[in-house]
Symmetry: C2
Subunit: 359 residues, 2 copies
DNA sequence: GCTCTGTTAGAAACTGGTTACTCACTGGCC
DNA sequence: GGCCAGTGAGTAACCAGTTTCTAACAGAGC
């Protein structure tokens, strides 16, 4: 019923009977037991059922047992919506990211999902498709459906985030720092990462670097580029060539030829995906890595270890960002301070895609 | 505070003032406007405000405007919880997967997220950590917090799923088919994929295949292995060696030596991650791919195009699965049938990791 | 001018829980 | 035996919306 990407679908046996389960008449899930029904069945008041279900100790064991039995018999499950309304909280937090296919955000998602899960919280996820406006709209929407928000918003203007700060609180920002924002942020020290990378490459004798630029709206790209320029300016006899590229495999792949043409002996790619693409592209052009050209990435995505050759890159603690985001958010939700902004120090991972500059 | 994976964290300036935003006294978000307050401000009843907010046409334009103005002035946003309770639905659906770091599930997540997002629905995500018991517990929990469920549950026994079917409905199953289950399932025709792969390899002259086994509890692994055995049994002079392996890069990497030792001329890996790992491992052992050994994967993860050499694999429409899961679920939520089970036909992608068998 | 009909908006019931307050009953102590 | 404290459970008020039912009112038709 629409142009499928891949397979022609092949029909099969119909799933048996009651899949739809009614759901037509009225909102309630048909026969679902309510607290009133359980109370009636156990011959107690709703209050008592509520107390038993929430483990209050002020109910006589015998009565509690009767209530539990009734609940069991009726397959009673408290309504999440009613509970949320009465308690004023949902038991859910949300995460908004620009792109779910980016390993960077997958890492945070994973770390956050596990930390929140351990605390018995549900996780709402929304993807903003790299759109600055959508980032904020989705953030508001997601926040309304939950008790707190973790926001990865590389595109939205800082001013806008400050405006929205009240409506989004409690929330924590990841992979970004915004001056004067009333929320803790967890970010990565791009400067330090770039500097380590540059030191490593100059140590190997490289004097001409090509930077494969990330998306111009990306705050990470901006930070990395600035650091590179500063490094270049501070090193006599050092050339930096900036090549427009992107953030995906294909972008890197397509930029292999410009790299070759610009004569750089080392490539600093915006991220690992671009670096991998470049690696493949260079390979196809018969360029040896690291013999002819060294290549570095950024982020240390899981695949970086398995490129050929394995990629020298800057590792950032993606899962840890997710975990810490949870802890910060949890603190905020309890009215505590959320703590200071944190900039994670990345770590240079030297693998086989970098080597001495050809003489 | 805890052993960080990567970076020593470096303190920075404290986020300004009101991050915590109170939240201490009582459940309600302090000053948040309610429908009553808006009604009062506009000098109308709550019913009228509700009607205006939901776009009912039975309100005089002039009154509607007054209500809208009041809502605007008070920054009114309807309480999601109250709305859920009154309407009997949450506007949210959920997805449960065994492993968020697996590209297979990331694909479904992405497709589902986009489709649900387009329909204005929120998406709840939970990860079961490959644990059969947790798969079902999380599924129930997630379902209770939403209006419908998409479940990827490769481990949970079919019997258990049938038992739970009532509590989980409406739901759709992905990457798996369970006989007699009252829910539509979207799966992949592993048989067909394996057969295409085998035909391709035998066409290239290969007669001895090594299968790098997936996790024994995985239903995909079971299906693929069965198909391979059937193919082997049906082809005279054909040898199939089954090597224990796993589902991750490292598993494949570690199995490179056994592959070499078993003398097979072609490797069929459980999935692309294993295949990539094997590729790297073989490369390290000085084995040429595809000169000495051909290697194939399964799934066509984004990275498969960028291994060296690019990986011959079986492509399955991961995002499409997510999109279709949404459509099926949507139908079910509207009391419609949800349709037939569907098995997607995978597509063989011949790239450079397979070649003629060495003579 | 009166009745009938249609439109608009309000009153009140309802969604399913939680919890502050109250009260009945029990037992200890004087 | 009466008073008091403590305990266990019920009553009823909330949480913030939606929706059915009803009533007021205006305009049309006779």
């Amino acid at each position: 019923m629409r142009a499928g990407t891949g397979g022609r679908a092949e029909d099969r046996d119909e799933p048996s009977s009651s899949a739809g389960s009614g759901a037509r008449r009225g909102p309630r899930p048909a026969g679902a037991a309510t607290i009133s029904r359980v109370a009636e069945a156990a011959g107690v008041s709703r209050a008592t059922v509520s107390r038993v279900m929430n483990g209050s100790t002020t109910v006589k064991p015998e009565l509690a047992a009767r209530v539990r039995a009734a609940a069991q018999a009726l397959d009673y499950e408290p309504s999440v919506a009613a509970r949320s309304l009465a308690l004023g909280r949902t038991g859910t937090i949300s995460l908004v990211v620009p792109d779910l296919s980016n390993p960077l955000f997958q890492g945070v998602l994973r770390g956050l999902s596990q930390a929140a899960g351990k605390a018995g919280r549900q996780l709402l996820v929304a993807e903003s498709n790299e759109d600055a406006e959508e980032e904020t709209i989705l953030a508001i929407e997601a926040r309304r459906n939950s008790d707190g928000l973790v926001l990865a918003s590389p595109r939205a203007p800082g001013e806008r985030l400050r405006e929205l700060s009240d409506r989004l609180a409690p929330f924590v920002l990841v992979y970004r720092e915004v001056r004067g924002l009333a929320a803790p942020s967890l970010s990565v020290d791009n400067d330090a990462g770039i500097n380590e990378l540059v030191a490593h490459l100059t140590g190997l004798g490289h004097r001409h670097l090509a930077y494969l630029s990330g998306p111009s709206a990306s705050s990470s790209h901006a930070a990395r580029l600035a650091a590179l320029r500063a490094a270049a300016a501070g090193t006599p006899g050092f050339t930096l060539t900036e090549l427009p590229c992107g953030s995906m495999f294909d972008d890197g792949h397509a930029t292999a030829r410009p790299v070759l043409e610009c004569g750089a002996s080392a490539v600093v790619a915006f991220n690992d995906m671009v670096a991998s693409g470049a690696l493949t592209g260079l390979h196809e052009l018969g360029v040896r890595v690291p013999g002819d050209v060294s290549v570095t990435g950024f982020d240390d995505i899981p695949f970086a270890r398995y490129t050929t050759p394995p990629l020298t890159t800057v590792s950032i603690p993606k899962n840890e960002l997710g975990r810490q985001a949870w802890e910060r958010l949890w603190a905020l939700m309890n009215g505590e301070s959320g703590g200071y902004n944190v900039r994670f120090q990345p770590r240079l991972l030297i693998r086989d895609s970098t080597g001495p500059a050809p003489s």
